[in-house]
Symmetry: D4
Subunit: 169 residues, 8 copies
């Protein structure tokens, strides 16, 4: 059995559908990961412990997703030297701009690598984690290169499909 190299953590089970986008990428790249629910506010001790013990358990990168005041990524970053990726989650009246500001505007000394609000951000959090791991893993780097090429091909195919559709008109 593989040891988790990435820890995906979120504040509530309602965040699972968003954070699942990060999990999908990690599965696609064959990177073992853990997915945990822990709240910066409702169970602060457990969250602090999750952060403090991550490195010792072999975790290399933490991905934290949270909405509204969104302190989770910052609190995780406070307790570890591992890189922490923050995913702001939309929801509530301000719809994610609050979560974005709370995640990205970290004071000097404690970075959170923030990605876009919502599912696109969660997907990119997965890719960013793979990019970090690929710095010392040539096979992952090769996979990333192929992923990048497949994205370019996909755009070409969509363009081709559009040309065919326009030609038919």
């Amino acid at each position: 059995m593989n040891t988790a190299r990435v820890l995906i953590v979120m504040g509530s089970d309602s965040d699972v559908p968003v954070m699942e986008e990060a999990a999908k990428i990690l599965r696609q790249f064959g990177v073992p990961f853990e997915m945990r629910i822990s709240s910066a506010h409702r169970c602060p001790d457990r969250t602090a412990q999750l952060s403090a013990e991550a490195e010792g358990r072999g975790i290399k990168v933490i991905i934290a997703g949270a909405g509204v005041a969104a302190h989770l990524a910052g609190v995780m970053a406070a307790g570890t030297i591992l890189p922490v990726i923050g995913v702001p989650i939309a929801g509530g009246a301000i719809n994610g701009v609050d979560a974005l500001y709370s995640t990205v505007q970290m004071p000097g000394g404690i970075p959170v690598a923030t990605v876009a609000i919502g599912k696109a951000g969660a997907k990119n959090a997965g890719i960013l984690a793979v990019q970090m791991l690929a710095l010392s893993d040539a096979a992952l780097a090769q996979q990333l290169q192929e992923y990048k090429e497949s994205m370019a091909r996909e755009v070409e195919e969509k363009d081709q499909a559009l040309q065919e559709k326009l030609a038919e008109q």
Copy 2:
């Protein structure tokens, strides 16, 4: 010597000039208080301890001031059942709206009593703390009543001064 009933905490010594407005009010009302620097991100264990031990040390109300991602009030609130008042502090490119969102948009279960951004908010945090203490302290309630009346008188005096100035023109 009096035991502190209010704990004023802020993330950095650069926040002292703002949070001093809360301290001034507490001095004016004769409420003993502590003023501490502790950071949610740079010293999370110490901050958690400050929150966890507050009630036991006789603290009744916590006032927490922070800027940018401003997790301090939320982190303090996570660790105690005492009411926590949050003062968003302006600074950086977003100038306090980030701190406001990070402080006020707390998830259900962990309230932060948020006041206005900056010095007016810090002053009001002091008054709000006194209002809470006055719920079981008739002398403080009396002082608050007098403070309220003096504010009304002050407006009347300013209006009177304006009328005199206009009459001179």
Copy 3:
């Protein structure tokens, strides 16, 4: 029959579904409360009277919810020395940021303890009111402690459920 210790006031009957979240918390903690509709703009005299008489009637904390220009909490705070908690309610084109600014940006001298926009905020307003009352009520303090622990347990259970679901995949 218990005398109300908390007054929940809102500007319109359309706000009841939001403010009911505060009422639920007060019922859960066994805190007697009143729930009233009164508008800062449509019946200013009645609103002023509600504020002025609250303390004399035994009210300890006021919770005021309003949307758009949201003057209700500020107007209630103007007429009393009791702590006033403001709940900004989403609605209209600006969807609650207007209500947040109108509620939280009070001038120095007249605090409003502002919570998050909408239902999460109303729930937290209830908890914050209980926290204030618990300062001189050990039984309520004990209940708050248990509530806090149950929130932590609930997160653990959700995490456990997620682990089981992931293990099944």
Copy 4:
């Protein structure tokens, strides 16, 4: 001595330099006015009285200027059937957008005629008051017509000055 037809009210003496722009316009058009300091929050009874008595004292239009949570115009409008013009005043971290939202987003039933933030708004509040009075005052209407023409001429003169400057280059 003339009876005031316009009441200019503001929350603080620090607002005088802004609201003076409205006064200048009223002086220029020969409209007698009163200028008062009264706060919606610090002296609510006095403010309510100012509003309630305005019509009886011969006031036709109220201009209210306030910053941050800016409840003054709304509170004045709650107490009278006279038209109330609101001037949002910049200041504090949010710099007037808070005052704009608090002034303009009035609920159905109680309008506030809101003008631009700051000095341009205060000037326009004066002109708007004159426009209202001119509905039943042909001499004022004539003055407004001349004022409008002089604004057009002034732009032409500035354009002429620019052409001369450009020709010199």
Copy 5:
């Protein structure tokens, strides 16, 4: 047949459902009005003419509603000395904040009396127009007074209904 005293103008027929709120108020107060579609951008000459001729045709107040860049109220105000009330209409990606800024931030010299975004604003535009006409129409002033009292009664009735509902629980 009555001559129109208020001109309601809007940029598109899609704005009719919003601006109808102003019309309802005018009908309720018995104020004759015109309702016109004219665009500042698609038929500028016609719009300019509508503004220029309004006073001569007996119009006393203009209400202009528009969305997005929302130049209509400003363009109407440029061509007349009559008071112009602007109703920002929500729509498009920015949902009315663009229309609010375009309507309210008029430069010194040309006021637009701006009300809230959308239907509440349109309703208030109607009331504000009545308030202006009532300055020289005692019967309208009397109607406004009764309207104000009926609004207060309505809140009382809603409060009474809530008390009954709570008592039943």
Copy 6:
């Protein structure tokens, strides 16, 4: 003497220092232009005439700069089929976001080609006008190509200077 091919128009002489950036580019490319002050609100007839007559006088592109409610570009675009470039100018409490929204959010049918807020935008308005003229002017196209290359070289030189400075450290 050359006939103006570009008309630069602005609402006030205070906008000249910003719009001068467009003029500099036109001078640099040898494109004759006119620079005029005309206000959408203070002299609407003159502005309408300026727009309506532009094409007949040989103007090919209009550049309009304005701040706050910023209706000028839209009003110019309403009166002509020439392309109109809008420059939002910062100023006032909202500092140009109001001008940006008022300029760019034009309804379908009447485009305004909007550039960045302030001096960078005015400069780009000049370049954009040249790009439009270059569509049928090979010499201008050649100049644009050289301008583009000189920008690239300038970045290289700045990079070279930085490398030298870093090497010295």
Copy 7:
């Protein structure tokens, strides 16, 4: 067969329904165009090539539509001296304000002619492209003049329809 004079490019096939509004206008005016999918981020080389080769292939104007970080218009503008029109597309949590800022706030030297967010903007991009082409194409200029007149007539017809509907009431 006609050679394309306008290149419409978008980042994803999900943008086709928005950008189709530009295509409709070009078809209506008989302007031959190409419609392509190419991404600034997923296939940067192909996008750079599309931009670099456009002028040589006879393209006169480029219209680029993109959402969220919306770099496409800027990247196209970097590679050509042709005028580039940017259409910000709504989508994601920030709903197009992100795309607007990313498209319009170009640094000095590289303009993007930005239009409104979404379908109205795409339609206007088409018209703006026609306006640019019409600078050296009298037949297109004539068509634009007729289009402008038909828009004015359409407003008149809508107004007429409203008058009839109101008369029936």
Copy 8:
């Protein structure tokens, strides 16, 4: 001589004072780096090349800082599989919120690890780069641990200094 492991790139020499904060951190941790000026818009080919060749030259992490439309980090990320950290730089009328949105709101597939606006963000970009390198460099990890501890100590010292200052009063 050490080979650079981090590439710091910025769009203009005016960004050097901000990005220098990243450089300071890298010097402090003994991580060799390159600092380059290259613009996504003014020299797109050079920027594309810088990105494409980075991995081959031994670069492990790219830090890109840019203001306003801020496409640089996204353009760098498009051309490499290395992790790219984006630093939004304040400047212009929107003061960095434009740069933040342009940097963080990347579409799915191409992540940019975004940090706070301005100097605090640049400093954190440096730390984040070290955190990534430390995943396979135990000495760096040890340094990070010490850095984290020194930050905590620094807060304690500031708190101690405040206590001494308060004791003196």
